[in-house]
């Protein structure tokens, strides 16, 4: 039997967290940048929910950011999006704008 935390207002904190907004995104989204040769960079987006169709996301993003992008399936980290160039600000704005993730779920790494 597991005990659950119930606050004064009789709302089960765990239920609340789980049902929040019916948003399938539960984990943190990590947006990273990697340097390639020369001035070229690569942006990776890790941790998006499985319920999202990443291919569709990419399709839109490619056009809006004017860059190429792919989905990479990684054994440990699951499906990860890659974009060419530094798209960190773009993808962050996109995720927030389309409400795929909440602001506190997005972590932008790098400089």
């Amino acid at each position: 039997m597991t005990s659950r935390v119930v606050f004064d207002n009789n709302i089960d904190a765990f239920d609340e967290a789980q049902n929040d907004d019916k948003c399938p995104q539960k984990e943190m989204v990590h947006i990273r940048i990697q340097q390639r040769n020369g001035r070229k960079t690569l942006t990776t987006v890790q941790g998006l929910s499985d319920e999202y169709d990443l291919k569709k996301i990419i399709k839109v993003c490619k056009r809006h950011f004017a860059c190429n992008g792919t989905v990479v399936d990684h054994a440990e980290w699951g499906e990860v999006i890659q974009f060419q160039g530094d798209q960190r600000a773009n993808i962050q704005r996109f995720l927030l704008g389309v409400k795929l993730a909440r602001a506190e779920q997005i972590k932008v790494h790098g400089f």
């Binding site: 340097q35 390639r36 040769n37 890790q46 790494h109 790098g110 400089f111």
Partner: protein, 336 residues
């Protein structure tokens, strides 16, 4: 703080933030209902104000500046007593206080006044937090962004009384200036209560390009030492954040793959400090990191509070560079 009130009331303050004004005032007023509307202002010692305005009006600037300084000095002595802060008559600056305490026959000697001041200061610090956030921030060298530096500049560095050489008739006293001055004086008189202990001075990262593809972070070890962290931990964080690899050299430097500039490294170091150095409870940077049961704890040396921090993970790393070579290496490493 009746002194502040007097200052504010006696001289016209053109720009002031009402919210903070009230907040500060409430704290200093020790919970007594001292709030006054502007309509009540004229009751309080207007003579000084009028005198001021008159002296500010004439055209020859030299003379007025001198006069103003004399007047200001006089007012200053009224407020803060002598240079050493003695002879402060706290009661005489506050009408309400005077009225209320008249029956009690006030004998506020200096010792008591100081006690009050310190007590109030503690309360005040809560209110101050918002404003001082910039100040409490760590200094990664002097090369921080210019606007950040502007904000963190100590008020003592500016002229202590900037209004002396200004057209008082037109501009008057600015609330911000007066506030800065009050804080400067408080900090001067109470060195221990300042937020100096929350400051962490880290030498600015020295980055230099090696060839076209590598960057040397030459004072890497010194930085780790200044943060009181093992260089391995900081190294891991830098690699994870910058999405790169590298190695340490013999002279305490770090060679990173890729091109990086000082600003980028400062940002990474700041993020590191926020996540792995700063105490979330008291905001101090004097902490130590220890590992227990496969978990990392940051323990504060000041308030002894502890918190867990996540281990550094690099996360997904995209394949960049020579795929063929990586494939070949993988094939060679695991043939059977």
């Amino acid at each position: 703080m009746s002194m502040l009130w007097h200052y504010c009331a006696a001289y016209s303050i053109k720009q002031r933030s009402t919210i903070r004004y009230n907040g500060i005032f409430r704290y200093w007023g020790e919970g007594e209902s001292l709030e006054m509307s502007d309509a009540e202002l004229p009751d309080i010692d207007l003579t000084k104000k009028k005198k001021k305005k008159k002296t500010a009006a004439p055209l020859d600037v030299e003379d007025t500046t001198d006069q103003r300084k004399i007047l200001d000095d006089a007012a200053n002595e009224d407020l803060f007593g002598g240079e050493d802060g003695s002879n402060v008559d706290v009661t005489k600056f506050d009408e309400t206080l005077k009225k209320k305490k008249k029956s009690k026959k006030v004998t506020l000697d200096l010792g008591e006044g100081e006690e009050d001041l310190v007590g109030d200061l503690d309360e005040l610090s809560l209110d101050k937090k918002k404003k001082k956030k910039n100040k409490a921030a760590l200094d990664i060298g002097a090369s921080l962004s210019a606007d950040g530096l502007e904000k963190t500049a100590e008020p003592g560095q500016k002229s202590e009384r900037p209004w002396l050489d200004r057209d008082m008739g037109r501009d008057g006293f600015l609330y911000e200036e007066l506030l800065d001055r009050v804080y400067a004086i408080i900090n001067k008189n109470n060195p221990s209560s300042g937020e100096s202990s929350q400051k962490l001075v880290v030498p600015p990262p020295k980055l230099a390009r090696i060839g076209t593809k590598k960057t040397a972070f030459s004072n890497f070890d010194a930085t780790a030492k200044a943060l009181n962290r093992k260089s391995d931990h900081l190294l891991l964080y830098i690699f994870a954040e910058l999405g790169t690899t590298g190695n340490q050299d013999a002279s305490g430097g770090l060679i990173l793959k890729g091109k990086f500039v000082n600003k980028a490294m400062e940002k990474v170091l700041k993020a590191y400090c926020k996540e792995y150095v700063q105490c979330k409870t008291c905001k101090s940077y004097q902490t130590s990191l220890e590992k227990r049961d496969r978990l990392f704890f940051v323990k504060c040396d000041i308030c002894q509070s502890e918190r867990t921090v996540v281990a550094i993970t690099k996360g997904f790393q995209a394949v960049v560079g020579k795929r063929a070579r990586i494939k070949a290496a993988a094939a060679a490493a695991a043939p059977k």
